[in-house]
């Protein structure tokens, strides 16, 4: 036996934490992902850019207002939820072009179920209608995804082809299901899931969510330090831990304050029987909370479970994964089923937000979802990607979209800009990867 190469933890700082300029030292000590910083910087640039453009050219900077940012958070939810699933699909070197159409067909089936079918059986406005509808919609999405996954994994058809077929088939199905007619309005409880009137948790609810989240951040830091100490791994300096905690909790509290700064409009107050000059906060919208829950769940799945580990392994080297005893076919089927289930959740939010089910629901969403995942750092070569990156990517896409609407760009220009940004983002990512290697 040779002697252990480990040095004692007390004297072993993190590599790089004591050398280089202050910025480098800070990044090494806190172990912050520089790519994440880059994305946040880009996002800040977009936000400030739109606000200034509006303020200078139109005389009205509407972007950095509580109202717009609240709307932005709601608009991002459905794309972001699907993007977290697309990360897994792309990491394993596949693609899913069918998610927009699956939204269409599951949204339409949920519309029929809650408007035409369930009220006949349970009576109009029954409390369980929205639950049954959601469960059926999500299950239907998972089933369609599993079917795609089966064709890809067990029948050897490339995912591009299977889901391109799915793109057309499911859009057609969405039309046939109700003869092309729109279903509206949906169940009133179901509609809350879209973040429309009443679909928010208010000031108190937001504070509870925010404080729970802060407690979570602190717990993660403390527990992480405990684990490192237990196994004699290098520790972050105490000031770095405190800084990370402060940044995390600060961001959470900041977003609570922001969401609470947007009051309910007069019309809603009147409906609630409150005086028109009362200040009642929106707080977090329900779809945003769903998105956060999905994001946390998917992050745990990808970083803390065997399933997530196998997703990365298959993406890095499918042959090695198979030789390690991983059933790569089953994994592919499960990944597509998960993508389908997440699409079902997105369909709930999208149709609830519209308060209707239309056969065009989700059209072109697949492109925004793929773009969000890729902007968020998911590599089309496979093996690399993060959930938080995809959510941030969705936020970038949606910021561009709604920012351009706010300053009055027309649809043609919007598409040109979004297209250019996608290509530019991937190019910058290549440069970043080449430099950090």
């Amino acid at each position: 036996m040779s002697k252990s190469p480990q040095t004692s933890p007390a004297t072993a700082p993190l590599a790089g934490a004591t050398e280089g300029n202050p910025v480098k030292r800070f990044l090494a000590a806190t172990e912050i992902d520089t790519r994440l910083l880059g994305m946040l910087g880009a996002l800040a640039l977009i936000w400030i850019g739109f606000h200034l453009y509006g303020a200078i050219v139109n005389g009205n900077g509407a972007f950095l207002t509580p109202r717009n940012l609240w709307n932005l958070s709601v608009q991002t939810s459905s794309i972001a939820i699907m993007a977290t699933g697309m990360v897994l699909v792309i990491i394993t070197r596949n693609i899913d072009l069918s998610v927009g159409s699956i939204i269409g067909v599951t949204g339409m089936m949920m519309g029929i179920l809650q408007v035409d079918v369930l009220p006949q059986i349970l009576g109009l406005g029954h409390w369980s209608i929205w639950i049954i509808t959601c469960v059926v919609g999500i299950a239907l999405g998972a089933l369609i995804g599993a079917f795609h996954g089966w064709l890809i994994a067990f029948r050897g058809i490339p995912s591009f082809i299977v889901t391109l077929g799915g793109l057309m088939v499911w859009r057609g199905m969405a039309f046939i299901a109700n003869g092309g007619k729109t279903i509206s309005p949906v169940d009133s409880t179901f509609a809350l899931l879209g973040g429309g009137p009443g679909g928010n948790v208010g000031a108190m609810g937001s504070w509870i969510v925010g404080l729970l989240a802060c407690a979570g951040v602190v717990w993660l830091l403390v527990n992480g330090r405990k684990q490192r100490r237990k196994h004699d791994f290098p520790l972050r300096p105490m000031w770095a831990e405190v800084t990370l905690g402060a940044i995390g909790c600060g961001a959470i509290i900041g977003s609570v304050l922001l969401m609470n700064a947007y009051p309910l409009p007069k019309g809603i107050l009147r409906q609630m029987g409150l005086p028109e000059d009362a200040f009642v906060s929106h707080g977090f919208a329900i779809p945003v909370l769903i998105m956060i829950a999905v994001g946390i769940g998917m992050t745990i799945l990808m970083t803390r479970t065997r399933f997530g580990r196998y997703v990365f392994a298959i993406g890095g080297n499918p042959e090695a994964a198979a030789l390690a005893g991983i059933n790569t076919r089953w994994m592919t089927l499960k990944i597509f089923a998960l993508m389908g289930a997440l699409t079902g959740i997105a369909a709930v939010i999208a149709s609830a937000r519209l308060n209707s089910a239309t056969n065009a629901l989700g059209t072109l969403d697949e492109l925004y979802v793929i773009a969000a995942a890729v902007i968020g750092g998911t590599s089309l070569a496979g093996g690399v990607g993060t959930i938080y990156g995809a959510i941030l990517g969705a936020l970038v896409m949606q910021s561009l979209q709604s920012g351009m609407v706010l300053i009055g760009f027309d649809a043609a220009i919007q598409r040109i800009v979004v297209g250019l940004v996608l290509v530019l983002a991937v190019y910058l990512d290549n440069l970043y990867n080449a430099k950090t290697k």
């Binding site: 036996m1 040779s2 002697k3 252990s4 190469p5 480990q6 684990q227 490192r228 237990k230 196994h231 004699d232 791994f233 745990i300 803390r304 479970t305 065997r306 580990r309 196998y310 990365f312 392994a313 993406g315 890095g316 080297n317 042959e319 090695a320 994964a321 198979a322 030789l323 390690a324 005893g325 991983i326 093996g383 690399v384 290697k437």
Partner: protein, 253 residues
């Protein structure tokens, strides 16, 4: 000679496998005893890797039987092979380049916490322990293995095979990508594992390595077994003749 008595650790009888009408392995039988190193030699395409992949579960044989410790074994996939304590170091190393050393070492057999989550800290600690033994210079525990040198990658692949108490070890050209010092390290490791009573199949091109490390050598040509020799009873040239011309020396059986 340590071999030829008692129950063989592995016995592959009459194994055949073909791909699209071409017989890659044609009725080949080989065996392996505890504490023995058996070399597999032959040209590229002679069928040695294919034969051994039937044992590691990467391929499924068309015909023939495998016995482990005298009992009939069904090996249909890599998981089955691991169940019989068969570990393989593949020529390609079979590492997921985007994962770090610990994730690769435990791939498919992750350590989990009581709650069922992967225990990265414990896996890294275990990896540090075994690496301290196999390759004391190894330091890069938190980077993807794509950032490692050929020798470091090799030691990750070897650590994976050794960590899980293998009884039967398959090494497919383990030193092909290594420098002289690392090659020496692998040779010492093979000797140590042998002393611990493992059976090792060693696929090698380098005849000198075979003469040094192996007890017996099996030579294959065109999917068939030319013959088996006790390495101590033949010369380099005898083995070369078997590989190139398929000529069986008197000492072979």
């Amino acid at each position: 000679m340590t071999a030829s008595k008692g129950t063989p650790l592995v016995e592959m009888r009459d194994i055949s496998i073909s791909f699209g009408g071409i017989k890659a392995v044609d009725h080949v039988s080989i065996d392996l005893y505890p504490g023995e190193v058996v070399g597999l030699l032959g040209h590229n395409g002679a069928g040695k890797s294919t034969l051994i992949k039937c044992l590691s579960g990467a391929y499924q044989k068309d015909a023939g039987e495998i016995y482990i410790n005298g009992a009939r074994a069904e090996i249909n996939n890599p998981r089955d092979a691991r169940h019989y304590n068969i570990e393989t170091i593949y020529q390609t190393l079979a590492l997921a380049d985007n994962l770090d050393a610990a994730s690769n070492l435990f791939l498919g057999r992750e350590l989990v916490t009581a709650a069922g989550f992967v225990d990265d800290a414990r896996m890294e600690a275990e990896t540090r322990k075994i690496m301290a033994r196999l390759n004391p210079n190894f330091r890069k525990f938190n980077v993807p293995v794509s950032a490692l040198s050929g020798g470091q990658r090799q030691s990750v692949a070897i650590a994976r095979a050794v960590y899980f108490n293998a009884k039967i070890l398959i090494m497919d050209e383990p030193t092909a990508a290594l420098g002289p010092q690392e090659t020496q390290m692998v040779a010492e490791l093979i000797q140590e594992l042998k002393r611990q009573g493992l059976g090792i199949f060693l696929i090698e091109h380098d005849i000198h390595a075979v003469m040094d490390l192996c007890d017996r050598a099996v030579v294959m040509k065109n999917g068939q077994r030319v013959g088996t020799v006790n390495v101590g009873e033949v010369t380099d040239d005898d083995i070369l003749g078997m590989i190139i011309m398929g000529k069986k020396p008197a000492a072979a059986y």
